[in-house]
């Protein structure tokens, strides 16, 4: 049985609560990169960030029965990741205090953390929406927006005409808007979430 990735977030949360492992896989794949990105804005080490996020996602599975809705699930992920990152820094600090009397200055404030949550959310949504574009359209969008390639460069790489490339880019933007708004998501809502947290 394969989960339809067109499931709503609420449906996926409900399935997870019921112990559906494929729902877990879906959520893992959706949140892992964004959470690691978020964690790396707090802890310096790449390895530490990944360990922390893997740990949190495993806890998500262990506590699956606790999540009534998607918002509380997301809240858990970000807040737990933030706390685990802070704990990791405090641990490093205590080690250093014993050895060298040097200080790790932790400059991430609560406001920084909130901003980074929002940014991570935006990234996750855009990244997911990009993955749902048709193959050629997606490749072109990624080359254009991730790698900063010009229309001409993309046309040459993919052996297409520049007008085809431009058409696909326009199509991509329209499709992205549709996908993002169907999910009930707009940049606006994400920004307003901040006031709710």
């Amino acid at each position: 049985m394969s989960i339809d990735s067109n499931l709503s977030d609420q449906e996926t949360t409900a399935l997870l609560r019921g112990g559906d492992e494929q729902a877990f896989d879906l959520l893992f794949r959706k949140f892992y990169p964004g959470l690691v990105f978020f964690a790396r804005r707090i802890v310096p080490g790449h390895g530490i960030a990944e360990e922390i996020v893997q740990d949190i996602l495993f806890k998500l599975w262990q506590r699956r029965a606790d999540f009534d809705n998607y918002i509380s699930l997301k809240g858990f992920l970000y807040i737990s990741t933030k706390n685990a990152c802070r704990d990791s820094i405090d641990k490093e600090q205590r080690k250093l205090n014993r050895d060298h009397n040097w200080y790790l200055s932790n400059t991430t404030t609560e406001a920084d953390v909130e901003e980074n949550i929002i940014y991570a959310e935006v990234l996750i949504e855009i990244s997911q929406a990009l993955d749902r574009l048709p193959e050629q359209c997606r490749k072109i969008m990624k080359m254009s927006y991730e790698q900063g390639m010009s229309g001409k460069e993309i046309a040459e790489t993919m052996q297409l005409t520049v007008s085809t490339v431009n058409n696909q880019k326009a199509r991509g933007i329209i499709l992205l808007r549709k996908i993002l708004s169907t999910n009930g998501f707009t940049i606006l809502l994400v920004l307003l979430h901040r006031d709710m947290m």
Binding site: P33, Q54, F58, Y103, L188, L192
Partner: protein, 383 residues
């Protein structure tokens, strides 16, 4: 792109958005950050480089192990059923992995001889010969050189801070990595330029930049983020080439055992010169120095920068090139049973921080190749 997406919102939503932006300086800054194309591109690339699948496999294994632990016989007459259940669970966990491997006796062999990946370590050699081993987790002052102090700063970077007295003679230091090492921190040169090193590489630099130009030398592979000073251009010497940089980000790959050296520009502008030839690069382009001279092509920036993101990324790379990267990172020798195998092409992607068997399994699945690991040697065979 996000600006375009925002263009799709309604009038009311737009009003709300504007109100929100005007509410505080912080909101305005956040909005700018989200809609900045370059930041978004970098962030999406960073997201891409995350090895989600390996992490997911780890998580699923833990979940399976937990399920197994929960099936413990309550009373004696459940023992046989529990034993059967645990065998089935072991099989299904194992089966999950078997599904991703072709069964063959060689696989078992590769698993018993496996090699751990490299780690974040480098050696800083000062002009006076003093060596400092750099690993992750250091903090504070590392050394004093004349009136310069070398420290790991709060941003986890190695920085030079000059104190009041001037007129000290310029000294040259070298930051280097062996096989199996890569920079644990970026090095910040006295002008603010940042450098990262891959395995088996080095950068030699002066403690202060005086004179008309800023010049450093490298071997192997290094990534630079240069601070722009129009009056004092930044130059990197490597392999007889000079890369002149104009406030940019670029990666140089110039190992002696590779047929070509490649300079890839990510951002800004750079000029690559070799003898009387020179090429001016635009972002996303790569200057390749090969036997016939210098040429320019479009770069695969994901593949080029994968090492810095902790990944191996091969897009139709030759096995020769792949195994050379493996030998530098895992510190092993490569032996080919059939030289023709060197020119086979593979595309693969995996974390650098896994054991070598992970990458080798991927390659075996993709193509007509087999590997055998013997101590610190990997033998490449025909399938």
């Amino acid at each position: 792109m996000t600006l375009h997406l925002i263009g799709g919102i309604s009038e009311d939503e737009r009003t709300l958005l504007n109100q929100w932006i005007n509410n505080s300086e912080r909101n305005a800054q956040l909005f700018n950050r989200i809609t900045d194309a370059a930041t978004l591109a970098g962030a999406l690339l960073e997201l891409q480089g995350t090895d989600t699948e390996t992490a997911l496999l780890n998580a699923k294994q833990k979940i399976a192990e937990e399920k197994y632990k929960q099936i413990r016989p309550a009373t004696w007459h459940w023992t046989r059923i529990a034993a059967a259940a645990s065998i089935i669970l072991c099989l299904s966990v194992g089966g999950y992995f078997l599904l991703h491997q072709k069964t063959s006796p060689q696989i078992a062999q590769t698993q018993t001889h496996d090699i751990a990946p490299g780690n974040n370590q480098a050696t800083l050699t000062l002009a006076n010969g003093q060596k400092i081993i750099l690993t992750k987790g250091l903090n504070g002052k590392l050394a004093q050189q004349g009136n310069m102090s070398i420290r790991v700063n709060s941003g986890n970077e190695i920085a030079y801070t000059a104190s009041a007295t001037k007129g000290e003679p310029i000294q040259y230091n070298t930051l280097s990595t062996k096989n199996g090492e890569q920079s644990p921190y970026p090095l910040i040169l006295s002008d603010g330029t940042k450098v990262w090193l891959n395995a088996a590489s080095s950068v030699t630099y002066p403690t202060a930049f005086v004179g008309k130009e800023r010049v450093v030398n490298i071997t192997g592979e290094a990534y630079f983020e240069v601070v722009h000073h129009a009056a004092q251009p930044f130059k990197v010497n490597v392999n007889g080439q000079t890369i002149e940089d104009i406030g940019t980000r670029f990666n140089i790959n110039a190992y002696h055992d590779e047929p070509n050296s490649k300079t890839t520009l990510l951002e800004g502008s750079a000029k690559v010169s070799f003898g009387t030839n020179s090429e001016l690069l635009r972002p996303g382009q790569q200057a390749v120095l090969h036997a016939g001279g210098l040429s320019v092509n479009e770069a695969d920036t994901e593949e080029t920068m994968a090492w810095k993101e902790g990944m191996f990324r091969f897009n139709s790379a030759t096995l020769d090139n792949i195994m050379k990267q493996v030998s530098r990172w895992y510190d092993v020798d490569i032996v080919y049973q059939d030289e023709a195998l060197r020119s086979k092409h593979f595309s693969a992607r995996t974390t650098r921080f896994g054991r070598v068997s992970q990458l080798l399994h991927n390659l075996e699945l993709i193509g007509e190749v087999k590997f055998r690991v013997e101590g610190k040697k990997i033998i490449v065979l025909n399938r």
